[in-house]
Amino acid sequence: MGCRRIQKRLQSFLDGEIDSVRKAKVERHLARCDRCRQVLTEIENVGRLLETYQEIGPPPQGLAGPVLARVRAGSVRSFATGSALPLRVWLLSPFGWATAGLFLAGILAGRLIATSVQQGPDRDAQSAYAAEGLNLEIFSELPPNSLEQRYWEALAAGQGGNG
């Protein structure tokens, strides 16, 4: 192993969190590499310096009393459930999946409609349709001899609608 890889193992080497094969490799390397021995010493020194960050003691009355006071005050509901459900809860619940499905379906439907509008007749074709009178007015003409046509003809002839 090169120096870079050895140096990444030095912390676990010092902590005894390394397997025997790697440990032997680190030891062999350290025996012949001044630079890595220096890094090992520096890591040990950091460990000693960290001891100067001393702990503090709990308040004399302890922490339980103030917590229980907050519970009794009743202003703690947000801690029990949280104001918003965590993502993991949403992912695990059927409701979350249903919501996500509806949301996706909405997006897909919107996209399909937009695509069909975009893929409709182009402007030249639309002009041609207009020139030929091919517009919505075709639906105002009733099919010949249809019941509705006869109704309207009878109505126009003043015979009433019940003939």
Binding site: K8, V67, L68
Partner: protein, 202 residues
């Protein structure tokens, strides 16, 4: 079922059952056992004694409110430290979202002080050696607080709580390799930021 019978022998299991029924005495016993650990995890994470008390209270509040939902599948301490780790990380996210109000530096004051804003404040009183030690401790503290949140937590759990890599992985819900990587990067940063102290202290 993972070690259910062994876990049932933990007093924490009985206490948690009591807390779920609203037993305040059980809660006091549980807090009494863990408050120093949780308080100091929070303290070394945030660097402020008052803020760490608030954080520790909030962590125990979560324990109280979620006691009914807790299942003794794993050791209680593992669950507690997971709650604490997540709460610390959320605290950092919350702080990051808060607007930072910075006072405009007064040039006259800066000149009078004769030092930059980032300099470690000198501590009056005591012998020069004590003063030097206090300054060194302040630098170490600042270096730890400057670590990225997950590196800081891994370092704290390892150096100050003496947890194995496996336990840290459990508490931080990550792999063993990730723990090793967090610790290596934390140490690299500390070696860089405490360079002169690290090389001078033999």
């Amino acid at each position: 079922m993972p070690n259910r019978s062994a876990e049932d022998s933990e007093p924490e299991v009985r206490w948690m059952e009591g807390i779920a029924r609203g037993d305040e005495e059980a809660f006091r016993k549980l807090v009494d056992r863990y408050e120093r650990q949780i308080l100091n995890l929070a303290y070394r994470y945030c660097g402020d004694a008052q803020e760490s008390r608030d954080l520790a209270q909030e962590i125990f509040l979560k324990v109280f409110l979620n006691a009914g939902r807790w299942k003794p599948r794993a050791r209680f301490s593992t669950w507690l430290f997971r709650v604490a780790v997540n709460h610390c990380l959320n605290y950092t996210r919350r702080r990051a979202r808060e607007p930072v109000v910075m006072a405009k530096p007064d040039p006259a004051l800066s000149e009078a002080a004769g030092q930059s804003c980032t300099a470690i404040p000198t501590v009056s009183g005591g012998s020069p050696q004590e003063s030097a030690e206090r300054q060194r401790a302040a630098r170490v503290r600042q270096a730890v607080l400057s670590l990225p949140p997950r590196q800081r937590l891994a370092l704290i759990l390892h150096r100050y709580h003496g947890f194995s890599y496996r336990k840290i992985a459990d508490h931080m819900e990550c792999s063993l390799g990730a723990v090793e990587s967090l610790l290596v990067r934390a140490m690299d940063r500390l070696r860089a930021s405490l360079g002169d102290l690290v090389r001078g202290e033999q």
